[in-house]
Symmetry: C2
Subunit: 327 residues, 2 copies
DNA sequence: AGACTTTGTGAAAACGTTTTCATTGCGGCC
DNA sequence: GGCCGCAATGAAAACGTTTTCACAAAGTCT
């Protein structure tokens, strides 16, 4: 038998309405407020959030749906979002889709059923497009990825520019047969691929692009095969930190020396990338800023639902390390 | 104006009771069940989870409170717990305390207010002891860490044995001045320290133990100072994967070669540990098993609340790599 | 001084479900 | 044929809050 607000009211000698007002905001005299607080302490009362949310029609909760919780990029962004959420007095529900459209659909439905105030979401291409057609009854901000232009607020990296930066850098370092391996599930991977391609063509080189699921195992497999072909690349650009790890593994297995036999560069300045020998040249993403901006976009959208769609683009920073510095 | 169960009922020409029964379990004729499902589809009805939970007094939700979401050990365990939860038709709330007792208290209160079915929790020592005295009105299973014996179900590694294993290994490899750096916040770190100490003394060596917050930055700082003292250790045991990373950084900064100038060994077979040169000797934890066992303990506790307290101890596996193999 | 606003409070309605309770129809059993 | 039990259904109560509404007391303005 759990204790409810009526028990507190009885203990304090007031009505339930007064208790509710004393705990939330509402006009209550100082004296009664103290009585109520004392009664809460004595009874060990814990408000029932389900009841509160039902009656107030406000959940004070936002959903964060990320594509891969094992990817340090997403955990870093999550922490930033969490901080911003709690600073605003909101709860956070964190969900992990593993890049699986079915799980995405499931979690989106869950968000609707939870009646969350808003959702921050890193969708696969498939789901981003689906959402462009029929949209949810909850505001959604895309993060790290976008859908068709003008359908959802979003905060993303300038992926094409960043990828071009990497390619230009590799070219400047003397590499010529530069391959690119990109994730198969996200708009972001596509943009990075596009940036790669324009930079390669601009230099008069020939692009060599492949796709794989954006995780270490798949990337390792793909790169392993690639490197054993007749005319293997002399450098590779990888679409994210996990794939970069896979590529390092594949190069080791193949007995290729980095950077001399194979140059490497990629995305995400993960903690391990400067510990391997040689250090990895990467694009560092402003993860904290991404999370904070996403929350900010979401709040603005809640305040002004009919405001035009906004897209915030942040720039990556090139961190040059040994993996691209051919002796 | 959101659509509720009464709209569905009207659309299907039945009562709300029948809709509820058709959606959940309850005796409903096949014909009506189909009518209801059709009406749900037409109206785009989404049940309101707050209302459902309030009325049914059952949240079908478990809380998972981890100490550091950036620690790959915890993300791996989280995934295992998540899988088990969803297999059992339960929702998961994931919280991150950053080893901060205040945040632990806040999240525990939240769990009570959410009326979660159960909690899986990696507590700091402080909170574990506090919980031993006054316990919550929700079943709690400790994970990775324990409190005073007999107060909570728990699933942990055999930390003392694992730490001894590491020390014995380092001794066998010829190291003699073996230091140990352990986390300052958890029972697990204490147990590892104890295992370290007994193994060191058993070998007739002198223990040299220190503590630091269990993260990479703190460990790097501590080890950095340590290595620059008059008689530095010739090998180090680190209490978890993050601290191991800090130690690697410190060794590099100090210009010490691993394993010749400094042997290294630690806990957690994180993805990067075999990519650095030399590879790191570690204890691999059965992360998936830990998560699965925790859910299992929790379910058993829910079924039989008065059953005696259980503690499941799992063994780690020693993975020998170059960092402990002195030439 | 009277007419209004403001402030503090309690009773009761409301939030959207599930569950209880009563009712109906129906098949089987004596 | 009457009675019992069971299955399917609807009306209404219940879950634990917040919010509305009503009202009294106390200012505040003309």
């Amino acid at each position: 038998m759990t204790i409810g607000i009526r028990d507190v009211a009885r203990a304090a000698g007031v009505s339930t309405a007064t208790v509710s007002r004393a705990l939330g905001r509402g006009p209550v005299s100082e004296a009664l407020k103290r009585q109520v607080e004392e009664a809460v302490r004595r009874t060990g009362y814990r408000p029932n959030l389900s009841a509160r949310r039902l009656r107030s029609q406000s959940t004070q909760t936002i959903g964060l749906i990320v594509a891969d919780i094992r990817n340090p990029f997403f955990t870093a962004v999550s922490r930033a979002v969490e901080d911003a959420a709690y600073a605003a007095g909101m709860r956070l529900i964190l969900c992990n889709t593993d890049e699986d459209p079915d799980r995405e659909a499931m979690y989106l439905r869950l968000m609707e059923e939870e009646r969350v105030t808003g959702v921050i979401f890193a969708p696969t291409r498939i789901t981003a497009e689906k959402l462009a057609a029929r949209d949810l009854d909850v505001p959604v901000v895309f993060i790290d990825r976008t859908g068709p232009p003008g359908t959802h607020d979003s905060v993303v990296l300038d992926n094409a520019a960043a990828a071009s930066l990497l390619v230009d850098h590799l070219i400047a370092c003397g590499y010529r047969r530069i391959g690119g391996l990109f994730g198969s599930t996200s708009s972001t991977a596509q943009e990075r691929r596009a940036g790669y391609e324009t930079a390669i063509r601009r230099a008069g080189l020939v692009p060599d692009m492949r796709s794989a699921p954006p995780n270490a195992a798949a990337a390792e497999l793909c790169v392993g095969g690639w490197l054993s072909e007749a005319t293997p690349p002399d450098a590779l650009v990888l679409s994210n930190g996990l794939m970069l790890m896979g590529a390092v593994r594949a190069a080791r297995s193949a007995g290729l020396g980095v950077p001399d036999d194979l140059g490497l560069a990629g995305f995400d300045n993960d903690a391990w990338t400067d510990l391997v020998e040689p250090g990895l040249t990467v694009i560092e993403q402003p993860v904290a800023e991404i999370g904070a901006q996403a929350m900010s976009l979401l709040f603005d959208r809640l305040k002004a639902p009919d405001q035009p769609i906004r897209k915030v683009t942040l720039s990556g920073r090139l961190v040059v390390r040994g993996s691209s510095q051919r002796g």
